[in-house]
Symmetry: C2
Subunit: 114 residues, 2 copies
């Protein structure tokens, strides 16, 4: 029995990754853990979504990656936000907020249209 899929995730995953990295560099697995933790597991990022997303972001120059060793002495790929990544994050957040605002205008009880 696993927690219900969150099909709303589409389009927001990259924003969530960028935001998570905005507090400091982190490796992929740690990003997924951080998002799960911050949302009490409401949003669980699957490995099959995470790593392709990280590659897309790196390809766009929004992240920089390098191989390092974790505290556990395991090889990890540590990502850090670039300046372009920070700009993109700001833009995405503002687009997200405007979208959420628009949705809530639809959901809001409205008087019948004249």
């Amino acid at each position: 029995m696993k927690p219900a899929r969150v099909e709303f995730l589409q389009g927001t995953l990259e924003m969530l990754i960028l935001r998570t990295l905005s507090t400091g560099p982190l490796h992929g697995y740690g990003i997924a853990r951080a998002i799960g933790h911050a949302t009490q597991q409401t949003i669980q990022v699957e490995a099959g979504s995470l790593y392709p997303a990280l590659q897309r972001l790196e390809l766009q120059g929004l992240l920089m990656a390098k191989w390092e060793l974790s505290e556990r002495n395991q090889r990890t790929r540590v990502y850090r936000l670039t300046a372009a990544g920070k700009r993109r994050l700001r833009a995405e957040v503002s687009r997200w907020e405007s979208f959420v605002g628009a949705v809530s205008q639809v959901l809001q009880p409205r008087p019948a249209e004249e």
Copy 2:
């Protein structure tokens, strides 16, 4: 110059349609207009997204459709919410709200994890 695509739409369109129909029966084109109007065109529902979505919803028994004539004397397919559709709408809204809450927990400035 067209308004930027809303790639966050994925997953929410059906909820928006159900919500729009919850104030009364309406035809497809009217649903799209109503959503555009309620959001000041922030969300514009394209015909290529709308009609397939209506078919999916009808197939699931969430909507009932019948052909009628509009005030303009044009044939229109008028949709109305079924009881199952109303239940689904409630469920979707609650899932949406929990997702938005989760996202804002990630976006919120947080103290560094201990």
